[in-house]
């Protein structure tokens, strides 16, 4: 899955109402009617949001004929967590390079003052 589903996940979560719905589903399953309750929108509109979330694999609806509650698929979030972890590793790597630069700078920290830095290009 990866790339394709991830774009759908990110697109689905780009909408504030859908993010809010996901946050509420994290607390427990809910029907479309229950999800629609706090919003000033129709049940049909919420149904559309649920469909977008379902297409992204974030939400499933059980076949329980009466209520058809929406259920949050937690493993999709694990996938996102992995992506954020990759970003974190990149930042970690960058700051380890900064560690090395700082270690080399040693004590000569008074060479320049903020606001009075020399202009110039790195060689």
């Amino acid at each position: 899955m990866a790339e394709d589903q991830l774009s759908r996940v990110f697109a689905a979560l780009a909408d504030p109402t859908r993010r809010d719905m996901v946050a509420r589903l994290a607390a427990g399953d809910a029907t479309v009617g229950e999800l629609a309750d706090p919003y000033d929108v129709s049940v049909q509109a919420v149904s559309k949001h649920v469909k977008v979330l379902a297409d992204a694999g974030l939400v499933s609806q059980t076949k329980d004929a009466q209520r058809r509650p929406c259920h949050l698929e937690a493993e999709v979030f694990d996938l996102m967590t992995k992506w954020i972890e990759r970003y974190r590793r990149q930042a970690q790597e960058r700051y380890e390079r900064l560690d090395a630069v700082l270690a080399e700078m040693g004590g000569d920290e008074a060479r320049s003052k903020p606001g009075h830095l020399e202009q110039g290009a790195a060689s």
């Binding site: 970003y87 974190r88 790597e93 560690d99 290009a121 790195a122």
Partner: protein, 162 residues
């Protein structure tokens, strides 16, 4: 990569209600040293990365109201970045950040150097981007490429400098 496991770790937070990425990281350095590493071009170019790429500073005036521009280069491929220094203070830098490949996009970056005493400083870096879509794409794709081959070189560099 156990060699780096004892180092200070980065923590990343993607705000659920604002298109913001927050990064926190401790350093064995004073706020003044961190400021220098962020404002002196020859120091900045050595660590900003991405790894495996060479950073060439083209324009640099790290003062309040100043501006910056650099390219990251590898195998003849160049990725340009530019922005303005909105504020450069002793413990705070506010600047804009634009990737030349997406010139209409601009992030507002706020860096804060929190003095922890004993020659240690906590860096708080916050990036506010244009939309959740941009933020999540940024997180997903990473603006930095070539992350895998970088580790070996990095370990070597650190070992050399330590």
């Amino acid at each position: 990569m156990n060699a780096t496991s004892s180092r200070h770790q980065v923590s990343i937070e993607a705000d659920p209600s604002l298109p913001i990425i927050r990064i926190t990281r401790d350093f064995d350095a004073t706020p003044a040293q961190l400021l220098r590493a962020h404002t002196e071009p020859e120091l900045f170019a050595r660590w900003v990365g991405p790894s495996g790429m060479t950073t060439k500073i083209l324009d640099w005036d790290a003062t309040t109201g100043g501006r910056w521009r650099y390219v990251a280069e590898r195998d003849g491929q160049e990725f340009g970045f530019h922005g303005c220094f909105h504020e450069v203070g002793a413990d705070r830098i506010v600047q804009t950040f634009t990737f030349d490949g997406q010139p209409e996009g601009v992030a507002l970056e706020t860096l804060r150097f929190e003095d922890l005493g004993d020659g240690r400083t906590r860096l708080h870096a916050q990036s506010l981007v244009d939309s959740f879509e941009d933020r999540d794409q940024w997180l997903a794709s990473g603006m930095e490429t070539g992350i895998d081959e970088g580790y070996t070189k990095l370990d070597a560099l650190i070992a050399e400098l330590r």
